[in-house]
Amino acid sequence: MDTPTVVSVKDVQKTYGKANEKQYTALKGVTFDVQRGEFVGIMGASGSGKTTLLNILSTLDKPTAGEVKINDQEISRLKGNALADFRAQEIGFMFQDFNLLENLTAYENMALPLTLQNVTGKKVREKITTIAKTLSIDAILNKYPTELSGGQKQRVAAARALVHNPAILFGDEPTGALDSKSARELLDTMAQLNEEQRVSILLVTHDPFSASYCQRILFIKDGQIGQELVRGDKTREAFYQEVLDTLGTFNH
């Protein structure tokens, strides 16, 4: 089975500040690929550049130099509406603080990416019913976010991120605001989605436990990828230990 590249990052640099001011380089030439169906983690301490990298990948920021391709499209060339449309069609987002619209029900939140593409009512309902079953949130569709628990909210956010079949799902510390039980359940679901439905996932985190669910982890430090771990056939627990060991040496 061929595994085409979903995300391709080549020598990406990002410098903040104008040429004549004090400059700060957040990314100093980052290169990596994500294959279709992969579950990749990016780890790093605060200030390592991982958020900058995610912003660039998700087209919220532009690299100073280098090339980013998602689904074979060079994203730094996109502008305005094309850029918005690209995000709407190719990318799914999960945020630490869920970012649900609290004045819309879970169902309406999930329908948003579809209505943006003017999908008809019947199809919207079908798609939402399917994804809600997968994420076991079909019982809470008519509730408002304030009536939901953190874990439920993040599942709704995941459903919203996936309902339009994006090329890749970006997760920015999605378990950051959850208790350990909800976090574990969410990660299990994400791993399951990845295995069963071949959803490509890129997870940014500083939590070794979350990272241990990935197949491959890139460690980023001071704007560069310093190390790469591959889970291979190891159990999750063993991989978790490996991540911890790596972090112990990597950050210092």
């Binding site: 309406e108 009512g121 919207v124």
Partner: protein
């Protein structure tokens, strides 16, 4: 230390304070102008038509005062609600409630006094401009008129400072009874209220019934008089409130049920935003609708009165110009009259008891008289009628009044043949009458002719009240109605400024909590144009709904003026267009400012 914190608090909210500030400045400026025009002795005592206008301005300033009180209490408590967190924080840090209360009072008073001072200064400038305009309009010259009038300054200052003290007391009371914890988390309180269908239905029915009763009272104001006015005021306010509380929410729910509409672009989001807003804004929108109606009503009635002037003048006399013993100069001037429809010349002789006219002349060109409707008041039934000869021969002197000078009106009238007329031993006097197509268009000439009449008949100058000529009626009407027009116009503008700033204020202060939503929408790939559209629709609805309700209120409210005006709906599009344009400007500015706040973080890396 608290002072410093408080000052930073104001700085942080500068934009919001600026909106409040400009509203207050506008209000105090106009208040000063009304006061200065109403109480300035140089202005008032100089001439009677202006004296009439002065009363009108005094009424206007009272009205403005009442509405300003509402505005200040509202705007202030609103500003307070934005600063509740700050105050909660101060209290948590250990500041005593009394200290905070002092702080609030001081803040309110400082802002209020500053706004009033600036407003008064602007008001002086405004008075200068308006008084000049008013004087030229009333065709008058006053030597010693100064727009700076100390009693008016003092009245304005005292009035506004009292208002601010009231506002400060209300603020303190509201703040100090709220628990600290609630103050701190005010913006995170969920404000979703469960809808009860029965309550909603009751409210919708009540709202419509109240409005119907109110409208009926205004239409039948002649029957119910003051009682009707009071009932209308209460029921319309209540009806408007219920309308916004229940009816519009229900309307939005219906829209939301429509799947086709809902599933298009951001419509679902926009509708959700709106139904959330309308619930939250009920009192606000009801207030705006009421103020809108008052403002539009003031402008419409004001301009309506202006339109009345020629009509009132028309109904005063059947002739546009009557020249008693015209001077040579007057006769030359008559050639400048445009569009003369009819002219007549009558020869008159008089002795101590009787005025003699020539029958032949009156037969050839019958006298004209005003025929009033059955009600006797000014109405559309009023029209000009030719008087047949036999009616004149009954000796009804009243019919001759319009072609006589005051001293003749008490005398008997006799119609005589040419031969008899020639034998009467008295000098022949000439009366000439003119009717033109358009009285207003000929005004400059008519004014000069009037001056000539004064020269030819000194008695007219001595008692102008007895002069029944159309020009004098015009001047009187102009004095009263120009005042009304100006007052209506300025009251309208002041109301509009206040209501629109209230609305703008409310919408903008909600913007901060909306930033997150719009940023999120942009992140998941909503186009900028779609975001802008959603904002335009949302704010548009918030402006439009009270606007429509206000317009409907005014259309019914004008019924009340049927008693006072010949046609209150005449040329109604002029005030409506002026008002709608101004209101639209507020809408555009609000949308623009709101966009600036919520879309700031949505242009990623561009």
């Amino acid at each position: 230390m608290l002072w410093k914190l408080s000052l930073t608090g104001i700085k942080g909210r500068f934009k919001d304070y600026l909106v409040l500030f400009s509203g207050l400045i506008m209000s105090s400026a106009i208040f000063y102008m009304f006061e200065a025009l109403a109480t300035n002795k140089d202005f008032v005592t100089s001439n009677s038509p202006i004296g009439m206008a002065a009363i009108v301005f005094q009424i206007g300033s009272v009205l403005l005062g009442i509405i300003t009180l509402v505005y200040i209490i509202y705007a202030n408590s609103f500003l307070m609600s934005m600063r509740r967190r700050d105050y909660g924080m101060f209290m948590m840090l250990g500041a005593k409630g009394r200290k905070i209360a002092q702080l609030i009072a001081a803040e309110t008073l400082v802002i209020g006094t500053a706004a009033t001072l600036i407003g008064t200064a602007i008001g002086i400038g405004l008075t200068q401009v308006v008084s000049q305009f008013l004087l030229s309009r009333l065709d008058m010259h006053i030597k010693h008129f100064s727009p700076l009038y100390l009693p008016a300054v003092i009245t304005t200052l005292i009035f506004f400072i009292v208002l601010f003290i009231i506002a400060a007391v209300i603020n303190q009371y509201q703040l100090l009874k709220t628990p600290v914890l609630q103050l701190l988390h005010d913006d995170q309180q969920p404000n979703r209220i469960k809808e009860n269908k029965v309550t909603r239905l009751i409210q919708i029915v009540l709202g419509l019934v109240f409005l119907a009763v109110g409208y009926y009272m205004m239409i039948a104001i002649a029957t119910f008089q003051v009682m009707g006015l009071v009932i209308a005021l209460v029921t319309i306010v209540l009806g408007t409130y219920f309308l916004f509380n229940a009816f519009f929410g229900w309307l939005l729910m219906l829209l939301k049920r429509n799947e086709k509409l809902r599933n298009k672009g951001l419509n679902n989001f926009t509708l959700a935003q709106l139904s959330f807003r309308i619930k939250d804004y009920t009192k606000m929108l009801a207030l705006v609708a009421m103020l809108f109606a008052l403002a539009l009503g003031a402008i419409t009635v004001g301009i309506g009165y202006q339109n009345e002037i020629p009509k009132i003048a028309d109904s005063a006399s059947a002739y546009d110009v009557v020249l008693n013993q015209p001077t040579q100069k007057a006769l030359t001037l008559t050639k400048d009259l445009k569009g003369v429809k009819q002219t007549a010349t009558y020869q008159v002789k008089e002795d101590a008891k009787t005025v003699y006219y020539r029958t032949a002349q009156l037969k050839q060109t019958p006298l004209l008289t005003m025929e009033y409707g059955k009600t006797g008041s000014v109405s559309t039934e009023t029209k000009v009628r030719q008087v047949p000869l036999r009616e004149l021969q009954t000796g009804d002197t009243y019919l001759f009044r319009s072609i006589q000078v005051p001293s003749q009106t008490a005398k008997a009238v006799k119609l005589v043949s040419n031969e008899v007329f020639a034998q009467i031993a008295a000098p022949t006097k000439v009366v000439k009458t003119y009717d033109v197509q358009d009285f207003s268009a000929n005004l400059p000439v008519i004014k000069k002719l009037y001056q000539e009449q004064l020269k030819a008949n000194p008695e007219l100058k001595a008692n102008p009240e007895a002069d029944s000529s159309k020009y004098v009626s015009y001047k009187m009407a102009n004095g009263v109605f120009s005042g009304l027009e100006f007052m209506g116009f300025f009251l309208g503008i002041a109301f509009l400024a206040m209501l629109a700033s209230c609305l703008m204020f409310k919408i903008l202060s909600g913007a901060a909590s909306d930033v997150k939503r719009y940023t999120m929408l942009a992140k998941i790939g909503v186009r900028q144009s779609l975001l802008k559209q959603s904002i335009a629709k949302e704010i548009g609805a918030l402006f439009l709904l009270p606007g429509i309700v206000g317009v409907v209120h005014v259309l019914f409210g004008l019924q009340m003026f049927k008693e006072l005006m010949i046609d209150p709906y005449n040329q109604i599009w002029i005030p409506f267009s002026i008002f709608i344009v101004l209101y639209a400007v507020y809408y555009v500015v609000t949308t623009w400012l709101y966009r600036g706040i919520v879309l700031k973080e949505t242009k990623f890396g561009e």
